[in-house]
């Protein structure tokens, strides 16, 4: 009842593990798949091993979380075995990748074997990578095109909300040949320790995730659904089944869950069952509620 198809991938449910959460090892990806995720995205993988920013890298705030991991990853040269191990759980494994330019992205996509690629052009706190690329439609289009040329697998582009109009970068991704867009990555944010005046994160600032950003993400998904022809995957602040319904009604074909995994490792199976129960009660299918807000 919850099965979904997105850019050719069959999902048993529309709930995926978001990039950067439990995504560094084959073991952890496998666990999340076994905990009920319909697909899993890896931690973003780059050209060289990267230790990321110094701690504190993540802090829980009253509303949501602030993080600046700094894209720690063992590099694409070492990562294939983790993906292969993750595949054993039987759900699609999507490789999230990042780089400084189109050629780095293509090198990685050409070398890695995964069910799809998610291009992280939206990390708000990794200098030279991420959002500095993702706010420029021309770069987004160019990188997407290059990756499409480098691989036969479906390519998703993950967008940053830190722009004046997310449909501009969404359209650029579509023009570059993307098979889907993912919205959103974290919002730029900062927290300061008032006892000392120190920024709390080792990197001074970081990205805001968790429940507080959900209305921003829902609006982004809504706008992208209106503007694009390719499917939109929603992400940002999901912590319960009601949130998933809201995203799908806004126009998300599927969703990703990140921060909320910390407090509830069983969130995928919990949401799946509640979502099924809700749909049954309402006599609705996933297709019925997909983009529903646009018909009203």
């Amino acid at each position: 009842m919850l099965t979904t198809k997105i850019s050719g991938l069959e999902l048993k449910n529309p709930l995926m593990l978001a990039a950067g959460i439990m995504g560094t090892t084959g073991g952890s990806l496998k666990r999340m798949a076994r905990c009920g995720a319909g697909a899993v995205i890896t931690k973003s993988i780059g050209i060289e091993p990267k230790p990321g920013h110094p701690n504190p890298t993540m802090v829980k705030l009253r509303c949501g979380y602030l993080n600046a991991m700094g894209l720690p990853n063992p590099s694409y040269k070492l990562f294939q075995p983790e993906i292969d191990e993750a595949k054993h759980a039987g759900v699609p494994v999507i490789a999230s990748i990042f780089g400084v330019d189109a050629s780095e992205f293509s090198v990685i996509a050409g070398a890695i074997n995964a069910d799809a690629f998610e291009l992280n052009v939206s990390c708000p706190h990794a200098e030279g990578y991420g959002a500095e690329i993702g706010t420029d439609p021309a770069l987004v289009e160019g990188i997407t095109k290059a990756v499409k040329n480098a691989t036969d697998a479906p390519v998703w582009v993950k967008l940053t909300p830190n722009v004046a109009d997310i449909t501009e970068t969404g359209l650029a991704a579509q023009k570059g040949g993307a098979d889907a867009v993912v919205a959103i990555n974290t919002l730029r944010g900062m927290a300061i320790d008032i006892e000392s005046g120190h920024p709390i994160l080792g990197n001074r600032f970081g990205g805001l995730s968790g429940h507080g950003i959900k209305p921003v993400a829902v609006k982004c998904v809504h706008d992208l659904y209106s503007a694009l022809d390719i499917p939109v995957i929603g992400c940002g602040g999901i912590s319960g089944w009601e949130d998933v319904v809201e995203f799908i009604m806004a126009g998300a074909r599927a969703v990703q869950i990140g921060s909320a995994v910390g407090d509830n490792i069983n969130i995928f199976s919990d949401i799946s069952s509640c979502l099924e129960a809700f749909l049954s009660l309402k006599l609705w299918t996933l297709d019925d509620i997909y983009g529903m807000v646009h018909e009203i």
Binding site: I21, G23, T25, P56, D193, E195, H198, G202
Partner: protein, 253 residues
């Protein structure tokens, strides 16, 4: 939660390489839980609470060295306690401690003793003056000692004490173990029933709150599902074999 500002009130040099840092804030904990200790401008690292208002630090690298350089009235940021501590059960328990592994075990020994549980501790260190919290364990019960150089107790690893006739591991209801991973692996691989042993693990922590996955052992989050795990959960995992460095690369333990 944001870091709580904990002002340092006192230092106690426990051994040449470990120092206990007391602060003005008390944290209620289940022994075996951990806190994230923020040395502002340097790093944030996981530490056991060796008392409700203290950590005991072994000098290992940059952050721990920075902790040694602080003065009274300086402050550190503390988040936690996080994770799952030791489950105390049985009438007769054995603690196996290696080095600074004594930090979470000493409060466990005291809590257990004060509820009438009989506590035996196998305490190990590289040499006599590195034995940590010997007095606290003695007050709580019986103590058996091993040092690598034989300067006190049995010469050799603390796990060697298990081979002696001194200790019959089978007669304990529960066993609690913390120390260097190779030492803990020896305990796991010994003849002791793994279900009986609770291990407190160390891994490289980033978020410390179960989100990022940096600390995973075969998908188990040491920071959130642990740091205390029962031996049977650790059997046939990476434990004792591989760990991950800051980049997530596999490295030998």
């Amino acid at each position: 939660m944001r870091p709580v500002d904990a002002v340092i009130t006192k230092f106690v040099d426990e051994t040449p390489s470990t120092r206990t840092i007391f602060f003005d804030t008390f944290f209620e904990q289940v022994p075996g839980q951990f806190v994230m200790v923020w040395v502002r401008g340097v790093d944030e690292i996981p530490m056991a609470l060796s008392y409700e208002n203290a950590i005991t630090v072994h000098k290992a690298g940059e952050a721990t060295s920075a902790l040694f350089e602080l003065d009274e009235c300086d402050s550190i940021g503390i988040r936690g306690p996080f994770g799952n501590g030791f489950g105390i059960s049985g009438k007769n328990i054995l603690l196996i401690s290696g080095g600074v592994g004594a930090a979470p075990l000493a409060p466990l020994a005291e809590r257990a003793a004060s509820s009438g549980i009989s506590v035996t501790t196998m305490l190990g260190a590289i040499k006599k003056d590195e034995l940590l919290f010997g007095k606290r364990f003695e007050t709580a019960g019986k103590v058996l000692i091993a040092t690598d150089d034989g300067s006190e107790g049995r010469k050799g690893y603390v796990t060697d004490l298990l081979d002696d006739n001194d200790v019959d591991a089978d007669r304990f209801d529960s066993i609690y173990c913390c120390g260097p991973e190779p030492m803990m692996k020896k305990v796991l691989d010994s003849s002791i029933i793994p279900e009986k042993v609770q291990f407190s693990l160390h891994r490289y922590f980033k978020c410390g709150i179960g989100v990022c996955g940096a600390c995973c052992i075969d998908g188990l989050r040491v920071c959130k599902d642990g740091p205390v795990f029962r031996g049977d959960v650790l059997k046939d995992t990476e434990f004792g074999k591989f760990k991950r460095d800051g980049c997530g690369c596999k490295v030998k333990v």
